[in-house]
Amino acid sequence: MAEYQLEPINALGLSETVDAEIGLVRIVENNANSLASIAIRLGNEKKFSSSARKLLGFALPGPGESASSKTYSAFWSAPNQWFVEASEKSHADIAHILKEELAEMASVTEQTGGWCRFDIEGKTVTSMLERLCMLDMAGMKAGAANRSVIEHIGVFLLCRREHEAISVYGPRSMADSLHHALIAAAKSIA
């Protein structure tokens, strides 16, 4: 595993993650995960699914869904393409770990540095996100994973617990704008 000498800062530019409690929701910056995307190379579909299942511990999820095991979780992002999450502590170089197993079957791209993640929890999470996003938030079941738009920012919305907990992945370069949008929506219903 690679050894890093430098202390990274978080997506919002601080050394501590930002944690905000507004009304009945709590919005927490989460930097504890590594992220990589995998895309099947043409003609490798069958071989890939069995290798991926062995590596991840579950079959890769279908459109709009996610799946997880103890170590990994994955969500569907496009036909034959998924994002894989794992703990940053054990999988700091996640892309390398996945690539070693999947080899020529799939293209693996490191995504950790490209995204920021906010975990939103609370009783009013549905009505808060309904103000930001055109997805059917009330209809999102636990495990649902969708890409959509929040204030012109392309995001992934992952439902952890129905009507209760949602994770939002957005581009790291727009972390502050996305965070501002989330905070503003939370305040508007607080």
Partner: protein, 97 residues
Amino acid sequence: MIIEHPLLGPRDAQEFTCLGDASLINRPDWQEDDAVNRFYEYLYLRDNPAGEHRELWYHEQGDRSWLVVTRNTVTHEILRVELAIDVARTARSKDRT
């Protein structure tokens, strides 16, 4: 406007961008003898019907798939949505037979 995505279900039009006429899928072969004429037609000559129209839409803020949306340009009713890859593959297999 809501587009019924074949994989993801109903999605807001905000997530999509429209490219235009679905005939853009049928790119001419540049090695044909009359390639110049074919490309002229491909690039410049489009039907612009008041009524049913097949268009290419891109799910940019979604799964990045290309869709063929059949839409009524007068009523804005969406009649059919298919994955462009399926449309192209079907057309290609018909060409072969």
